[in-house]
Amino acid sequence: MAILKLYSSSVTACTRRTATVLHELKIPFELIEVDVLSGAHKTPEFLKFQPFGQVPYIDDDGFILYESRAICRYVAAKHPRSGLIPTDPKANALFEQATSIELTNFEPSAGKAGLPFYLKKLGWRDDLTDVPANLEILDKKLDAYEAILSKQRYLAGDTLTLADLFHLPYAGFVSLGSDIMTRPNRPNVARWYNELVSRPAWLAYQDGVKTTTEY
């Protein structure tokens, strides 16, 4: 059976998200670099696989899939004993609530605040105009996270799920320029955040995602 192929830029946010989950699940994968700076993701050849011209996509033994969270869900579904997607009906519902929280209440502002810091670090773009307003939005959202995480260890309950891991790229990027994730007035957010960014699966690709065949 062929190794899972991850087509993406080695450094972009959604590649980091995908690779972190692959690493958590100890799934071997080959990173095939897509040179986004030169527009390789907008060519007709690329668009055949990812019609929106976005990275990443995977080729899992001929099965093509895109959207990082869909990819993560697919590989986690192939490894049900990981517990990254709970199966009990109510636990699963709370998991879906947590993934939706990340999508609607975290990514919009954390992405718009975090990505500029990250792009500046990469030397790709230096424009922090959108950051302050989005940090303000994120600050209020994190108060709700504090309320949730004061009652349970992770976002969906007391076990780690994909919902927590989905936060990683942008939670990490926001912290490149702000202490918003670790402020003392939100000790539970800080506890949860510090645990996430200490995970080997996140640390493994600090300098970029690379082909990983052994764990």
Partner: protein
């Protein structure tokens, strides 16, 4: 015991998305209107249910859930045996469903919502509309709908040939676009037009539009046609 849905009784946004799913599945429910105009959703009492101070929220016999997409998924799973199958179960079909659901949130919702905020909400509150901001989100939406046109030329719905929640999630914001002065859902191309007509003609959506979002005690009420 009957489900209770808390939210806004209007055919747009998260509450309407859940109401459509309840109608698709023929699930009775009690509706409790949350007074958004007077900030009820931001009060500590409501925040006990929904810590972000947003609607909708669902109470299923003491089990409280929020985030419209999560509520819809829960209903689809709990009532899998009745009504249409809204989430596939086979591994690859489900992955393609997740791909389509992710596309809705990444490539459709932000621009449709921005167009609604700029082109419908602002005039409603007598605020000046910024035409270049409105055109910017419509333009991004248009580029993405070019891709929808390609996808929907090869398959009937966004996740494959069956209707799923991935299609349903588009309805409650997509239908506000016309009010914002954007006719992309019918003018983009024949495939998007065909899909949009099919999705918005479903009896479940028509019942939300025509009967409103209200306490619905039997399946017949939920699916009554105009």
């Amino acid at each position: 015991m009957v489900l209770t849905l808390y939210g806004l009784a209007a055919p747009l946004g998260g509450t309407a998305t859940v109401a459509m799913t309840l109608a698709e599945k023929g699930i009775p429910y009690t509706f409790v209107s949350v007074d958004l105009q007077h900030g009820e959703h931001k009060q500590p009492e409501f925040r006990k249910k929904q810590p972000f101070g947003l609607v909708p929220a669902l109470d299923d016999d003491g089990f409280v859930l929020y985030e419209s997409r999560a509520i819809c998924r829960y209903l689809a799973e709990k009532y899998a045996a009745q009504g249409p199958t809204l989430i596939p179960t086979e591994l690859k079909a489900k992955a393609l469903f997740e791909q389509a659901a992710a596309v809705e949130f990444a490539n459709f919702e932000p621009h449709a919502r921005a167009a609604y905020n700029e082109g419908v909400l602002k005039p409603h509150f007598n605020l000046p509309v910024d035409p270049s901001a409105l055109n910017a989100c419509i333009s991004k939406l248009s580029d993405n709908l070019d891709v929808y046109e390609v996808i929907l030329g090869k398959q009937r719905f966004l996740a494959g040939d069956e209707f799923t929640l991935a299609d349903l999630f588009h309805v409650a914001f997509g239908t506000t676009l016309a009010e914002a002065g954007c006719d992309l859902m019918t003018s983009k191309g024949p495939n998007v037009k065909r899909w949009w007509k099919e999705v918005t003609s479903r009896p479940a959506w028509l019942s939300v539009l025509n009967n409103g979002i209200k306490t619905t005690m039997c399946a017949d009420d939920a699916l009554s046609e105009p």
